[in-house]
Symmetry: C2
Subunit: 315 residues, 2 copies
């Protein structure tokens, strides 16, 4: 209603479709539903835009539909969750799940505009906010020690205040988006498949899809990160006090560091799947310190198992 | 079998999916079927390609699937009908029908390679060959008087010989593709919506979808062209002897010039639909002579009706 009134206030004549989606319904059927609405609304090829207001799943489903309808109509994103503000709302990718694989279908279809307003975060529950913080943390670990320190200092408070009422909230959001943009912009079409932002996304998508709908996206990313950091530490890449610091911060942000769904066999399948998707080589990003990663192609089952056991022991 | 043996001969290990498609099944369900096969075949993101061998519908359905799978996998086209050699096999568009509208969904997704071999035309029946000639004729009318003259001289013979056994067959195919490329290449993403190649495609798609599956794509294009030429002649744009020459050639190529499906009300809807698709203005290409077109936005129902009546009288 508030959104309808907003458009009314500016005398904009809009058609509204309200969608209730979740990761489990992020599929071709939902895309088809949106396409039918485009047909009903008579969305033209130019001069009007489809405006998607919602979380990452909604932005992605509407984005895929917009990319297909009339071979592409204008698409504007208004992310309303922390996760979609710092992740799905940045970059050019749209996608839906298919046959149990996360984002197996989609396109590179940049939005014409993305409008970010942290006021929406008032409506996001704290578990979802934590899930969003996982992607902020990811950016911090792969490239931004200072952001990591800000999260250590202010993270729990931001969570409690839902990013309202303080400058740190805005600052963290801006810095996370800036980090994502710096990683994505020079490689928008992913010619280069060795990407630091894939940190947390090697085991993550498989963990998420296997446990659907129990585990949120950011939680799956967090589980991948904790396992990957233990693995990096066992390899001697990451100092053990840095590992502790990362796991401590994850707990402070109320993110899971271990879960019953972390089965070494499933994790091994995830590695196989990721390698196919990354052009035949794994290109597994592992942190060498807080703020930097290196890439590895040679992770084996024994190593995954042993990292998994070590992680269980720590918890 | 011949195609399987071909790949075997070159020791290429391929997965084969055989699809039997027609304009009526050129839809999202067929795309989904192809996507499932990609999943079974474990099509990787890079270093292997999907090869589509078939007519325009198959190339389009597989092309849409290739554009979506892993946000785009390599796609190679081998058109096997005259229509797909000169039309669907040229350019960057892939698409499927949706809710009764032709190619309402799709992308601009250029194939990495397109291989043309006229030997395939031996397997195409003569009605389908005529349908392909409609697109050749279109290119001739909008930009290539010499191609038009070649069709007048050799068209019926090429049809009879199925484009085999003579240099003219190759020459006509090359010239038609070159004409299409010259029109499409500078405007591959259709930033410019005023396109001479839309000749035959204002009423055409609506005629085709309304009469499905009775009328072939090229036949619908032919019906649009005959009506448009009569309209151009009534406007005084096209000399009447040129109109006669066009209609005579259409008949010689065994293309329909009139059909019971040409209902003025449906034609008016087609105009409305085309204007929405062309960014709000009709941009209707009409021939001013054989080899040139001009664009018009102001076609009304009376004019369509009167052209329709005139066409009926002539037949």
């Amino acid at each position: 209603v508030a959104i309808k009134n907003y458009f009314k206030h500016y005398s904009m004549d809009v058609h509204v479709l309200i969608l209730s989606l979740s990761e489990s319904s992020k599929d071709l059927d939902s895309v088809r539903r949106v396409l039918r609405a485009f047909e009903d609304f008579q969305v033209p090829r130019r001069r009007q835009a489809v405006i998607a207001v919602g979380g990452g799943v909604l932005l992605d489903v509407v984005g895929v539909a917009a990319s297909l309808y009339r071979r592409g109509v204008a698409y504007v994103r208004v992310p309303t969750t922390l996760l979609s503000i710092v992740d799905a709302g940045v970059g050019a990718k749209v996608g839906v799940n298919f046959e149990g694989h996360k984002n197996r279908l989609g396109s590179f279809y940049p939005a014409q505009h993305t409008f970010v307003d942290r006021t929406f975060l008032r409506t996001v529950d704290s578990r979802q906010l934590s899930s969003g913080l996982a992607e902020v943390l990811k950016i911090a670990i792969v490239r931004d020690l200072e952001l990591f320190e800000i999260l250590e200092q202010h993270g729990p408070k931001l969570l409690e205040q839902k990013f309202q009422a303080s400058d740190e909230g805005l600052h963290v959001i801006r810095r996370a988006i800036r980090g994502m943009l710096a990683e994505l912009a020079p490689n928008l079409w992913e010619q280069e498949l060795q990407r630091p932002v894939d940190f947390g996304h090697t085991f993550g998508p498989t963990i998420e899809m296997a446990a659907l709908p129990r585990i949120l996206h950011g939680e799956a990313v967090a589980l991948d990160m904790s396992l990957s950091c233990v693995l990096a530490s066992q390899r001697g890449l990451l100092a053990s006090f840095e590992l502790d610091r990362i796991l401590d911060l994850m707990r402070a942000l109320r993110l899971p560091v271990v879960d019953s769904s972390l089965d070494p066999c499933i994790l091994q399948n995830a590695v196989t799947d990721a390698a196919i998707h990354r052009g035949g080589s794994l290109r597994f990003p592992l942190p060498t310190r807080i703020g930097a990663v290196a890439f590895f192609d040679d992770i084996n089952f024994t190593e995954i198992s042993s990292a998994h056991s070590a992680l269980l022991l720590r918890s």
